[in-house]
């Protein structure tokens, strides 16, 4: 019966950039990506300087640049302080998405040495133009109803993925690819080949969205060959875009927060 070949190949490809539940892994105690720090700097400037000041020492007895906090020592504790606030003080609870929280913690941890002039989060409008034109990203990705569904929908990627992860995805798509974005290649008994992004799988069946954006269900008993593809077909943009263009695309991706009610 079972004639599938579980090659689980290391050589084939899949797209990247979205998926779920990576964020807790960002609590990496000391390892903060430049992109997260930079994104955090922009959030800090918009949300925090009014009380804490640009240098982090405007509130009496609090110096954020010192790296010492009265109510927090770990990143998780910092996150808790930011989202719940501190009752009885002027520190309110902030409603920030996970990407923003990751960024702001990264920035606060590094603000002593960080040069604001080095911020490399570019321009959202220019980034959107690059995303849709030069980058041709909508050939595979979909944002707010525009683009293909072959690759993950990025409409809210800016709230799900930290800046560092997004930047890594642009530079090294395969390295940053999440397992849920792997594709499959299946060969039916009649020799027909079906490929697409794997959505779910159990012992007897697998379901995917194919290149024509169709939801497809396959019974494994009907397959001659079945491969899970672990590399991404998305090209690296490292040598395709300038650093300024990369910063613009990153800004655009970070601006994608999903539909508003």
């Amino acid at each position: 019966m079972s004639r599938f070949i579980w090659t689980c190949s290391l050589t084939v490809a899949v797209l990247v950039l979205a998926g779920d539940s990576l964020l807790r892994a960002q609590d990496h105690g000391g390892q903060y990506s430049p992109a997260d720090i930079q994104y955090g700097a922009t959030i800090y400037t918009n949300q925090c300087t009014r009380c804490h000041g640009a240098t982090g020492d405007q509130v009496g007895g609090v110096n954020l640049r010192s790296g010492q906090f009265r109510r927090a020592s770990t990143d998780d504790e910092l996150r808790m302080v930011i989202v719940t606030g501190i009752s009885g003080t002027g520190m309110p609870a902030f409603k920030l998405d996970p990407s923003e929280l990751t960024g702001i913690i990264a920035y606060v941890r590094n603000m002593r040495d960080f040069d604001m002039k080095s911020v490399a989060i570019g321009d959202v409008v220019r980034g959107q133009a690059l995303f849709e034109n030069k980058g041709a990203c909508t050939t595979c990705h979909r944002v707010n109803g525009k683009g293909s569904r072959k690759a993950p929908n990025l409409s809210d990627v800016g709230s799900l993925r930290p800046a560092g992860v997004l930047q890594q995805s642009l530079v090294d798509p395969t390295g940053a690819m999440l397992p849920l974005n792997r594709s499959i290649r299946a060969v039916l008994k009649d020799g027909k080949v079906v490929t697409g992004r794997r959505l779910n799988e159990d012992t007897y069946n697998v379901v995917l969205i194919d290149e024509q954006e169709r939801l497809v269900a396959l019974a494994k008993a009907d397959l001659r060959q079945f491969e899970v593809v672990k590399t991404s077909p998305m090209p690296s943009y490292k040598d395709k875009l300038t650093s300024a263009e990369m910063a613009d695309i990153l800004a655009y991706l970070l601006s994608l927060k999903g539909p508003k009610s």
């Binding site: 050939t139 379901v207 269900a217 943009y237």
Partner: protein, 548 residues
């Protein structure tokens, strides 16, 4: 630079039968009967007959039905959603508001869209959902916190989301939306919380409101005078069940719920239009074409929240566009759906709140004295669960509550935003020693007496309102009815049975115990040339087909 060719997979792609091939156009919705393997709207077609044209399952082979797959919802709320099936993909809702796409042949989940309703949502009767609508590649869901959300049918991602009404003010939505042309129609629940009901149409592409029909006319509008003083402001009249549509008349038909406060009509003297009524609206503008009020000044919470069943057939020798309506108040009505004219009405269960209907269908009310039992009780002779009409047998089928009464005691109540606005006390039993019929959870059956009533599935001749056959159950039923072109009727029980009958004579063909109450309306579809029947019981969705 990235090019299209560099991004394309190099492999040849082939199709299988289990694919979502296309776009559900408005044309496909109009001609849903041309693709009986699919189930494209809440009730199957715009006529809302809940009658499948599939005929593989017949009275002679129904005994060979077996479970093909099951889906367990991660929810303890009642599973009231009736699924859609589009070209091999099933879409349903895990209560309260998670949308699930499954392979209709195996039950394997494609994707889940999770939505967490606002904590301020206050649906009266459970955080439930009855299903979805689809247009193009977009699904539409109405949420218990009164939002309307468009979701990409292929990847499960939200496309847009709008707030239809304020959940904190008692508004909720539990119905499956209805798509007509390029619009999505939804109504609001909250008849027990002092809302002012409405039905609204939204642009399917953008979510922008196109029209809104208030079920309680405002100052200066016809019908406003049917509400004493300012009672109209919080008069309820919700719409919480999907309507129907006649494309040739371009009219859409909806049932409007009870006036509020529910049980104290003295606080809202007058007919209370358009509560407890059927309304026919122009589908493009929302303008009222006609209305028919079943229960004026309704003091029983009878609502008129049933599925409007549209039937084209002869009436007194002439072809006619009819509307069949088995109302919660215990009467079965036949209306002319072009004009709203009353054609006939007959009680289908024990009724004592009215002695009959006059020539215009107005009830001859016989309000019972304080403390006496009114029939039917607050849950009605039937309720929101779907009936079915089979053009093959010419019969109208529904789940009913037999010999079921209640005692109503009005109490003056003051409106407070978002608070219960019932205005009375009800007991669903005949006397102090008789146990009540519980609203949704069962007490031990051996603690009941005959006074609690019982359920039945019945077949009515719509011309006479008389029963052709009936099957009695021990418990009451909250299950809808499906009929098929194989002359098989499927329905369920609160006891947890899913059973099949010969639609022609009521003979039991097959049954299975699913171990949980059935509180939805079953549907049927076909994949790879095989007919399936889907039903939810307890927290599970169960799909049956014939043995291979």
């Amino acid at each position: 630079m990235m090019t299209r060719s560099s991004l394309c997979f190099s492999f040849l792609v082939s199709l299988t039968a289990s694919t979502l091939s296309a776009h559900v156009t408005s044309e496909r919705l109009l001609r849903a009967n041309d693709e009986p393997h699919n189930w494209l709207t809440y009730s199957g077609t715009y006529m809302s007959n809940r009658h499948s044209l599939l005929n593989q399952v017949t009275p002679s082979n129904a005994k060979n039905l077996e479970l093909k797959w099951a889906f367990q919802a991660r929810s303890l709320e009642a599973f009231e959603a009736s699924p859609l099936v589009v070209d091999g993909v099933m879409y349903t809702v895990q209560a309260p508001n998670d949308v699930v796409a499954l392979d209709a042949k195996t039950g394997l989940v494609y994707w889940v869209y999770q939505y967490k309703p606002s904590v301020s949502s206050r649906p009266c009767c459970g955080s439930v959902n009855r299903g979805l609508a689809i247009l193009g590649d977009t699904l539409f869901m109405a949420t218990v916190d009164a939002h309307l959300i468009a979701i990409d049918a292929k990847d499960g991602r939200p496309v847009w989301s709008i707030e239809v009404a304020k959940a904190a003010s008692g508004y909720a939505m539990t119905l499956a939306p209805l798509v007509i042309k390029d619009k999505v129609l939804v109504g609001v629940a909250g008849g027990e919380l002092g809302i002012r009901g409405f039905l609204a149409a939204f642009d399917a592409r953008t979510g922008k409101e196109v029209w809104k029909f208030y079920t309680i006319p405002g100052p200066g509008e016809p019908g406003h005078e049917t509400w004493a003083s300012d009672s109209w402001e919080h008069g309820g009249a919700p719409i919480w069940l999907t309507g129907s549509y006649d494309p040739t008349l371009n009219l859409t038909y909806w049932g409007v719920g009870n006036p509020g406060p529910d049980f104290n009509p003295a606080q809202r003297e007058g007919r209370n239009l358009y509560s407890s009524s059927a309304v026919a609206l122009d589908a493009d503008t929302g303008k009222l074409k006609w209305f028919f009020q079943f229960t004026p000044n309704d003091p029983y919470d009878f609502d008129a929240v049933q599925i409007p069943v549209l039937v084209d057939t002869n009436w007194n020798g002439s072809p006619r566009k009819l509307l069949f309506w088995a109302n919660r108040n215990g009467f079965f009505y036949v209306l002319d759906r072009e004009t709203g004219r009353f054609l006939s009405g007959h009680p289908f269960v024990k009724v004592n709140w009215a002695s009959g209907l006059d020539a215009n269908g107005v009830p001859l009310q016989t309000m019972q004295p304080p403390g006496a039992v009114t029939y039917p009780g607050v849950q009605g002779g039937t309720n929101w669960y779907s009936p079915s009409y089979s053009p093959r047998t010419g019969l109208f089928y529904l789940s009913v509550w037999e010999d079921y009464g209640g005692v109503y005691t009005p109490i003056k109540v003051e409106y407070k935003e978002g608070q219960f606005f019932g205005g009375g006390r009800i007991s669903s039993s005949a006397g102090p020693t008789a146990p009540t019929v519980p609203f949704s959870r069962r007490t031990p059956i051996n603690s009941w007496t005959e006074a609690a009533g019982h359920g039945a599935v019945v077949a009515l001749d719509p011309r006479t309102g008389q029963r052709k056959w009936a099957f009695s159950m021990t418990d009451v039923s909250t299950a809808g009815v499906l009929t098929t072109a194989g002359d098989v009727l499927f329905t369920g029980t609160r006891e947890g049975y899913f059973h099949a009958f010969d639609a022609r004579n009521g003979n039991v063909l097959w049954k299975v115990s699913l171990g949980g109450a059935i509180a939805m309306s079953p549907m049927s579809y076909m994949v790879d040339g095989k007919q399936y029947v889907a039903v939810a019981a307890g927290s599970g969705l169960f799909v049956f087909g014939l043995k291979e």
